[in-house]
Symmetry: C2
Subunit: 468 residues, 2 copies
């Protein structure tokens, strides 16, 4: 028995790729004001496409930052649940641009993958979701559930105004659950459902050792060097095994249990292949230790560090300033502001003599989240994947962060199911971001199946999974 909606989607694959090419051609980098026009172009493209597919109330909704795109379809009636379908239209910066094999904002097919900044995170997966809904409307004139659409414009820069946008438009976005097209599959060869995310926090700091950069001959030996001081300070953050040494960093985090470690050990995973795939030195970690570090433990990573002369040739200077950017991944029990305070206290305590330190918190931070196992949308999603992928998905967590899951839990009182067809090895935040072409037919089949599983569900099914 063929599904007419799926047939339509698969028959128009070329049209889908052409639309995706138009979308990635909009350089919608939210972290850098220089890309303002690219952000506007991506919004204009989405609004046009959503209206064309038959969504109602298509519009931009802002709250002081990059606006989100909103739309809805509410024809399933008041007894049917409402799903808030989420994606984001913003992308990471393309830097370092020189390392791309094809231009970052030109969709380029190579080796079975489509390449472009944002193609995997999250333009491809979100377009897959919305095009599926559009096909339902085109073929059947209706959807099995009510839908509110939210395409965020600040996912890559900490979702600073997402909470305000949802607060100020609570009636519009009121829903029984969030169905997210963002979040990425853990791997392509094994169906999984992600039931937890790490939180995040970010901090920048600057060390100063002198009023100005100094000549290394005329002051060398008698003037302090900001880069030496920075190296010394950064080295206090971890021990030689990479364990975090910041006092108070893990306050409130329950220890990992033996039951959790046993569950992790049961997950099939080739740690050696992972290490080889990203070109790092092979570790001797077990699967359980590997997954514990990735899912259940927090991290503290320098994202950038710089100071002095970094151009071509030499400059014999003693730098007076050094800078660093740090991001942290948090686990349930950690509060972003408290973690940032602990880090700031550590940096102040270990700031080398003769240096001054300026610390800036650059994000509001995001809590880690965890989804309950009996959630009706989670169960429907698992059944849909079991049908289209041929086996029941494994419940996993992810090391990354979705501010969304934290914010919708707090503002709308609902949980989030991630139903993404990106995969974790697709270099989202690095040069040569790419997306498997095979995700297109797999994703269409799964999204159609999920909507079919939701036929006949009611708002009452979600009782007990909504707060308040």
């Amino acid at each position: 028995m063929t599904d007419a909606v799926l047939t339509r989607l698969l028959a128009d694959r070329e049209g889908f790729v052409a639309r995706l090419a138009a979308l990635v051609a909009c350089p919608s980098v939210s972290t850098d004001p220089a890309y303002r026009d690219g952000m506007a172009a991506a919004r204009a493209w989405w609004c046009g496409r959503l209206a064309e597919m038959g969504f109602a109330e298509v519009r931009e909704i802002g709250a002081g930052g990059h606006p989100a795109i909103a739309a809805c379809w509410r024809g399933a009636g008041p007894g049917a649940p409402t799903l808030l379908v989420y994606g984001h239209y913003d992308v990471q910066p393309p830097d370092p641009v020189g390392e791309w094999r094809s231009p970052p904002f030109v969709l380029t097919a190579r080796d079975g993958r489509l390449h472009a900044r944002g193609v995997s995170d999250d333009k491809g997966p979100s377009l897959l979701a919305l095009e599926t809904l559009g096909a339902f409307l085109a073929v059947e004139g209706r959807l099995p559930v009510n839908v509110a659409v939210l395409l965020e414009g600040e996912e890559e820069c900490g979702s600073a105004t997402l909470e305000k946008i949802l607060h100020e438009n609570r009636a519009f976005f009121a829903a029984d659950a969030v169905l997210s097209a963002d979040g990425a599959r853990w791997r392509a060869d094994l169906p999984t459902m992600t039931v937890g995310t790490r939180g995040s926090m970010a901090v920048e700091f600057t060390l100063r050792t002198a009023a100005k950069d100094l000549h290394s001959g005329r002051y060398g030996g008698v003037a302090p060097n900001a880069l030496h001081a920075m190296a010394r300070l950064v080295t206090t953050l971890h021990d030689e095994h990479g364990n975090i040494l910041v006092p108070g960093f893990t306050d409130g985090v329950p220890p990992v249990t033996e039951a959790e470690r046993t569950a992790l050990a049961a997950i099939p995973y080739d740690v050696a292949a992972h290490d080889a795939s990203i070109g790092i030195a092979p570790s001797d970690r077990s699967t359980a230790e590997f997954l514990e570090r990735l899912w259940l433990r927090p991290t503290l990573d320098l994202n950038g560090m710089w100071g002095g002369y970094t151009g071509a040739g030499g400059k014999t200077v003693i730098p007076a300033e050094a800078h660093a950017k740090i991001s942290m991944r948090l686990v349930p029990g950690q509060v972003p502001a408290k973690v940032a305070d602990a880090l700031a206290a550590h940096l102040r305590a270990h700031c080398p003599p003769g240096t001054t330190l300026e610390i800036r918190a650059t994000r509001q931070g995001t809590l880690a989240t965890h989804l309950e196992g009996a959630h009706p949308l989670l169960v429907a999603a698992e059944r849909a994947l079991e049908q289209t992928a041929g086996r029941a998905p494994l419940r996993v967590r992810m090391g990354a962060t979705l501010p969304l899951t934290d914010i919708v839990q707090r503002v709308l009182g609902i949980g989030t199911v991630m139903f993404s067809f990106a995969t974790a090895d697709e270099d989202f935040h690095a040069p040569n971001e790419n997306w498997r072409e095979s995700a297109i037919p797999e994703g269409f089949a799964a999204w159609v199946a999920l909507l079919r599983k939701l036929e006949g569900t009611t708002r009452a099914d979600f009782t007990g999974f909504r707060a308040g």
Copy 2:
């Protein structure tokens, strides 16, 4: 009794400043290929001016790098000594450009100083020297000694081809001593003669921890971070007091003697005022310790360190590469290549597990030098300064490097007297480089006096101070 040459020079001060403004307007940055046109413009300006002043054989002489400018006047006869008058027309990069209070290549008078990149190092002092010689030719039709002029184009990038230029033109540059307009006075309030310079060596290195930059959520906890590794490696280079920990670094360096320490302690110097002048935390160093660290001990300074995302906003990346530039100042007894080898061995030995290291020596290196006390040009220079400054100059050393002094000793077998009217606090290699306006009349008087002291000297006076 007024000196007609000096009178002419002082009367044309405005003309001198106008010529200096034209010279600094040529952005002759030798370290960066982007400034190629500025280098050519500075050469063209100098060639025009030297010919105008009456020098012979004005020309550019290259040996594969930035050409030097050469000229001569040999009218004093074969019994008179020949001095090789040295300066350089290249300058440091203007970075960071945003910190300049006036455009770096526009001569701007402010607070009794002229500001521009290169005004102090070395365009002002070298123009002062050549204009004095030109005034002798204009007023008296002759000079007291024979002169060969050498204006180098690679002083700021390690003088890579200076040795080849001198080798290939030994007959032209053959001389009894070098008289350098580069090198800087130690301070403006005390006449000094510099009898020693530190050598230099530079090295760059890159650490790699993965094949590519990685997403900090999806790999955080299981992937190494190149910036953490860089910080850990850099921290092994010094102890917490800034003492160098590289084994073999000071091999061949005799210990500082008590006699040397006593001589240093006798030099008047306000260490607290020095620290305050550059905005560093006050140290409790004695003058002797301060000067020992600046003149008699080697240094190892990071000039630049960078990796990961350094732009606006955040990027949640685990960097796969980190980079550093190091320059070292050397003292007599240290051999640049051996010092670089010792540093490379140390870096390899302390390279954190799981990282790969690539080391590049970026300069050929320069030996430290020291001038004998009875050298006739040194004595003449001291007498000239005693006459014009009102007191006998103090013999001092400098912490900085002049590749010239090393190269001319090896290639031409002669010593170098530095007779510069730049001063050490003029921010040569930093933003807002400046030159005291008072250096113009002081410099003219001293250069005229020096040439008068050389009247009647013969080649024979230099016997014993030339090699071979």
